[in-house]
């Protein structure tokens, strides 16, 4: 947990109990007038601790520890695809944002004849959502009594994404790690029984290691993570062994709180969750704190909604997503079909576009650049005025696609009508409804 400026000040020479150190208090050698001023800058991350030549070793250790993220960043990589999870700082996305989307992995077994085929489909899957290419993150290969090494090799050959190797047997694990050499896999799992051998493998093959206990026992999990960490393995992932809705929600919340609010280092790692074939459980893991989500089976009709859910939850609430300003054609409009104007705030755009689309009425939607604000907010901020609307009419050349010169503006900005008629003297301006939901009806009644 980051320390405040005042907490840092207590660790600097001016506050030292050792007179030999204290005499250097406020020496200005760091470039700041006092230790307090330096502490404040450190707190804001605008200065480096190394600028102070006199800071005590003990303080240094404390300050460095406080600078480490409360949930460690874990990186996996495949052949050109990298996945980073962890480094989260909040329990609720509205408090700031969630930073790293959980990796979504599809599980295959080494007894499964089509493992490589599934892996290929997983690796090739990509889907467009509001201009972003959403993809899965890898394949989890489970040792189930088949030829693990051969399956891992075949999956790696078929799919360029990172792998999770699922086995608790160190001999099998090593065979899998050998087959997966060249990429950064996650090894699952070290247990209270096998942890020494597994930790050794994780060290040798330089891969992150998941530690696994049964039944959501947080104490046992923390103890195991500490033991593994004691062998020098730093990249750890936690599996508290909960598989159902209610216990995973409780235990994952507890672990996240321990890491963030209690600064409990022993559990300061991302979590791995297994959702089986239940997309609802996978959805819960996405929203509530998993770093890796393993699902059984690959089916686009389920994967696509899950990827969209992940994109939604991990959208930064501080930066509303915008759509590109321009002309959007809905339901294949003809030159005689209506033209409507709105702003480029994504939710505004989606509300309007979705209403028109579901009504089945063809239309042209002109999205003005209102810097990502909704209609009323943008109007109040002067980002959605007659001048801007007129400019987008000209710059998009929408007039040339139509056989009429008539447009519908949102009811909330009816006041713009007069000014717009001045800016666009050849156009007829119609005031539409205030809410998108009333658009289809408005179009049916007013546009004919």
């Amino acid at each position: 947990m980051a320390l405040s400026g005042l907490e840092i000040y207590k660790l600097l020479p001016a506050s030292s109990k050792d007179p030999e150190v204290k005499k250097h208090g406020n020496c200005k050698e760091c470039g700041f007038p006092t230790c307090l001023a330096f502490a404040m800058k450190l707190g804001q991350k605008q200065a480096e601790l190394s600028q102070c030549p006199y800071v005590e070793e003990e303080s240094k250790a404390q300050l460095e520890a406080s600078a480490a993220p409360p949930i460690r960043l874990i990186t996996l990589s495949g052949d050109g695809h990298k996945l980073e999870v962890g480094n989260e700082t909040v329990l609720f996305r509205h408090e700031k944002t969630f930073y790293h989307q959980p990796g979504l992995f599809v599980r295959v077994k080494d007894t499964q004849a089509d493992a490589a085929e599934v892996a290929k489909a997983v690796g090739e899957y990509t889907v467009d959502y509001v201009g972003m290419d959403l993809t899965l993150d890898g394949v989890a290969v489970e040792a189930d009594g088949g030829d693990f090494a051969a399956t891992v090799a075949a999956v790696k050959e078929a799919c360029p994404l990172p792998l999770v190797l699922l086995t608790e047997d160190p001999v099998t694990a090593e065979a899998g790690l050998k087959a997966a050499e060249g990429i950064q896999s996650l090894l699952w799992a070290a247990t209270p029984e096998n942890w020494e051998a597994m930790a050794k493998l994780a060290g040798e093959y330089k891969v992150p290691l998941a530690v696994h206990v049964d039944g959501g026992d947080v104490d046992a999990l923390a103890a195991l993570a500490e033991q593994v960490q004691g062998t020098g393995v730093e990249d750890i992932v936690l599996d508290p062994g909960v598989r159902d809705h209610v216990s995973s929600l409780s235990v994952f919340t507890q672990l996240r709180r321990l890491a963030l609010k209690k600064n409990e280092r022993k559990v300061g790692y991302p979590l791995i969750a297994f959702a089986g074939d239940d997309p609802v459980l996978a959805g819960q893991h996405i929203a509530k704190y998993a770093g890796f989500v393993v699902v059984d089976g690959f089916s686009p009709g389920t994967v696509y909604p899950l990827l969209v859910m992940r994109a939604n939850i991990f959208t930064d609430p501080q930066k509303p997503i915008q759509v590109k300003p321009g002309v959007y054609e809905i339901n294949n409009p003809k030159p005689s079909d209506p033209l409507m104007v709105t702003t480029n705030f994504s939710i505004t755009y989606f509300s309007v576009a979705n209403e028109i689309e579901s009504s089945g009425i063809p239309g042209w939607l002109l999205v003005a650049d209102a810097e990502g604000m909704s209609v009323l907010t943008a109007w109040a901020a002067g980002k959605f005025d007659a001048e801007r609307i007129a400019k987008s009419v000209t710059s998009t050349g929408i007039g040339e696609k139509l056989d009429h010169q008539r447009m519908v503006i949102p009811g909330h900005v009816a006041v713009l009508m007069g000014e717009l008629e001045e800016e666009l003297p050849d156009w007829e301006i119609n005031v539409g409804p205030r809410e998108a939901v009333d658009l289809p009806n408005f179009l049916k009644m007013q546009w004919g």
Binding site: F92, V127, A287, S299, P305, M309, N312, V437
Partner: protein, 317 residues
């Protein structure tokens, strides 16, 4: 081995308990009532507080066969969509706790029509009812006032009650013993303000359901999700004007999305239509269960099953 102490929040607030429907003993005709709310912690964290009631699932039934519903939905219900009474019965059989009767927009809407439709649905099911108008403030008033009279004493939830028409709807609820669905566009302060305005009209807050407005998966779901988390946190921290149970409409919103509605001209990567469509509704709903929904209005019977399974799992403690 030192034991790690699991951090527990000490919440001072509690969500209000609200009961939908009235049995004969309370002046209504419902076979049973449904109580929601009463939470003293965040959703399903049983280790630090009480979750006395599972969220209720309402199934949406329309007054006549919907003209704009996806064929996936219409096929799932079959012929009952032709008749609101049969549909309400089918909804009860499909596992609804509550039936939502929604009037669609057409030329036959009138006070008398609204009364008759309500009457046949009340006669067909013993479940509590939510009654929504077509969603245009003036028209809603014209229909919901006679509905409130006709259903006197049934403790219906009348909606939507928003800043434009709350006076009329609240007055009707006050006069005839109903509840209101207070809807605001995804904003914590607007929700609080509407609750204040409603309680200033002397409708007890035990008769107000808060509706934060629902966005479908992919179409703003996360805005509603976060507003709900903020409202629930405020409620637990003791802010009395945010302690209403929350009603959401994932069925309506998800089935409006192209992903659920059509199979024509969509990318291959979207996968099987029916599978995707039901997932769209289910995942929209399940995210809102996680963020504190107390009443979920759904449309597809399979989504009802899945959301019910999730709720059962989250309540099994």
């Amino acid at each position: 081995m030192p034991t790690i102490e699991v951090p527990k929040e000490k919440w001072s607030g509690k969500v209000r308990e609200i009961t939908l429907g009235a049995t004969a003993a309370d002046g209504g005709t419902r076979a049973k009532t449904v109580t929601v709310g009463g939470e003293t912690t965040l959703p399903y964290l049983h280790f630090e507080g009480d979750i006395p009631h599972p969220p209720a699932i309402a199934i949406e039934v329309q007054d006549r066969k919907p003209a704009d519903w996806s064929p996936v939905l219409l096929e799932a219900w079959g012929d009952v969509t032709e008749d609101p009474a049969a549909w309400a019965k089918a909804a009860e059989e499909a596992g609804a706790d509550v039936v939502m009767l929604r009037f669609s927009l057409h030329d036959d809407l009138s006070a008398e029509y609204a009364r008759e439709t309500l009457r046949v649905v009340l006669d067909a099911t013993g479940l509590p009812l939510i009654v929504f108008g077509p969603g245009q403030a003036e028209l809603d008033n014209d229909l919901l006032v006679p509905v409130a009279e006709e259903g006197k004493g049934e403790k219906l939830v009348l909606g939507v009650c928003e800043d434009k028409n709350y006076r009329t709807i609240v007055a009707a609820a006050l006069a005839h013993g109903h509840l209101v669905d207070a809807r605001c566009p995804m904003d914590v302060n607007l929700s609080k303000q509407l609750n204040i305005l409603i309680s200033d009209m002397n409708l007890p807050l035990e008769r107000v359901v808060m509706d934060p407005t629902t966005g479908a998966l992919g179409y703003g779901m996360e805005y509603g999700y976060s507003v709900m988390e903020r409202l629930r946190l405020a409620a637990l921290q003791g802010d009395g004007m945010t302690q209403q149970p929350m009603l959401v409409t994932p069925g309506e919103e998800a089935w409006r999305a192209k992903e659920a509605r059509t199979e024509e001209g969509v990318p291959e990567a979207w996968g099987d239509w029916a599978e995707r469509a039901v997932n769209w509704e289910t995942l929209t709903a399940s995210a809102l269960v996680e963020s504190g929904a107390d009443i979920l209005v759904l449309r597809h019977p399979e989504s009802v099953k899945r959301v019910r399974a999730m709720i059962d799992a989250l309540m099994s403690n």
